[in-house]
């Protein structure tokens, strides 16, 4: 059994080495499998249609058995970037960083510095939510029309990655019908923020991207 697990582990690493896994899971050597590895970004209208929902998932491909031990890294800042005037420069950021089982949220606020380096903003205060432990009901906090969640969830991503790899590798020429979801049964650490659209922009649309940044 242990040998099989090791074998599976080696196989997964070997596959990942040849074909980085979509969507952004294990996308680059420097972050692959680490605590700053972004898996996905989602941005959509909320149940309350006046709201927008931002979701970042990190540290993907957690098996149910390894999920209880997975943790947000206290040295890794997850930052949602929002460009609301079309110049592809962030006008607002929402920052999330954990400490002692609590996720702290700052913003949205206009960062004093854009780009690759960030500092945590604090003069406007922050919101918090207790990080939901594995196997417990989702802990949700609401404040100032914003809602917050942080913790492990089912990975919402789905893709027949194994067959895609076979195609790229030249050992297959097409997808199967039906396909097989490589992400079936896997979990991912998730950060979910919902807030009024008016807090991110007043125009017809915004551009959004997510960054992970490590304390130097």
């Amino acid at each position: 059994m242990k040998k099989l697990k090791i074998l599976i582990g080696v196989t997964v690493i070997a596959i990942a080495g040849f074909f980085a896994i979509a969507a952004d899971h294990i996308d680059a050597p420097a972050v692959m499998g680490g605590t700053s590895d972004i898996a996905d970004l989602y941005a959509f209208q909320g149940e309350n249609t006046n709201n927008i929902v931002l979701v970042a998932t990190i540290q993907g491909l957690l098996s149910p058995g390894s999920t209880a031990n997975a943790a947000f890294d206290e040295n890794v800042l997850v930052e949602f970037n929002i460009d609301n005037d079309g110049d592809i420069i962030e006008d607002l950021v929402i920052q999330a960083i954990p400490r002692d089982g609590v996720m702290y949220f700052f913003g949205p606020f206009a960062p004093s510095q854009t780009g690759l380096n960030s500092s945590i903003f604090s003069s406007d205060g922050f919101n918090t939510v207790n990080i939901t432990p594995y196997s417990t009901n989702a802990i949700i906090e609401s404040n100032n029309e914003m809602r917050f969640f942080a913790g492990p969830r089912d990975d919402p991503f789905f893709f027949d990655f194994a067959q895609y790899s076979a195609i790229i590798d030249g050992t297959a020429t097409s997808f199967n019908l039906p396909g097989s979801d490589t992400f079936e049964g896997t979990n991912v650490l998730s950060i979910v923020v919902e807030l009024p659209k008016s807090m991110v922009g007043l125009g017809d649309s915004v551009n959004v991207w997510v960054e992970s940044k490590r304390k130097q």
């Binding site: 590895d37 380096n117 097409s174 997808f175 079936e184 997510v210 304390k215």
Partner: protein
């Protein structure tokens, strides 16, 4: 060497003394909220906008660099490389007259993709593609991979390379929630 150590120790003492003074000041009316210490500089390691961009279009040698290139600089740095990659994946795209279902030829399509941000509508439907709306957001249920496969391999009518335009995994392994936090509970 020893002198330097003593000097460093003195500086450290001075700094801690000053820091204590600062927190004393806080007691007398500062607006700083109480909370953990998050000071310091945080430097970028990973980023993403649209799903799969770094994975599909960036060569292994460039993957770390792509994650550390700000979106406003990505087009200049990567559009040509993306075009080369797209034309390798679907050689029909080497013809500048060949388009995908959005009407984009290779240069136009990679010109959109190379700036890796997700455009999100604030006025209506948010979806990666729902048959009508294109790239107005990304919901949890959007079959983003099949959309991207169709745009890479499907040609102008979406009918080229039929075995490559859909992975035939059309939905998640658990139903999503209609309310916050929307994502399904973990396995």
């Amino acid at each position: 060497m020893k002198f330097n150590n003593i000097k460093l120790a003195t500086i450290a003492l001075l700094v801690s003394f000053l820091a204590l003074n600062c927190s004393d000041d806080d007691d007398t009316g500062s607006m700083e909220p109480t909370g953990p210490n998050f000071t310091g500089i945080y430097t970028q390691e990973d980023q993403m906008g649209r799903p799969g961009i770094n994975t599909v279009f960036v060569e292994m040698v460039d993957k770390n660099a792509f994650n550390r290139t700000i979106p406003s600089a990505q087009n200049a740095a990567f559009q040509t490389k993306f075009q080369t990659k797209l034309e390798a994946l679907n050689p029909a795209h080497t013809d500048a007259a060949y388009t995908n279902a959005l009407g984009f030829n290779s240069e136009q399509f990679t010109g959109v993709l190379a700036t890796d941000v997700l455009t999100v509508s604030l006025t209506g439907t948010t979806t990666f593609f729902d048959g009508t709306n294109v790239l107005t957001g990304r919901t949890l249920a959007d079959d983003v991979i099949s959309v991207e496969l169709l745009l890479i391999f499907g040609g102008p009518m979406g009918t080229d390379n039929p075995g490559l335009t859909n992975d035939n995994v059309d939905g998640n392994d658990k139903p999503f929630l209609s309310s916050f936090p929307y994502l399904a509970s973990p396995w």
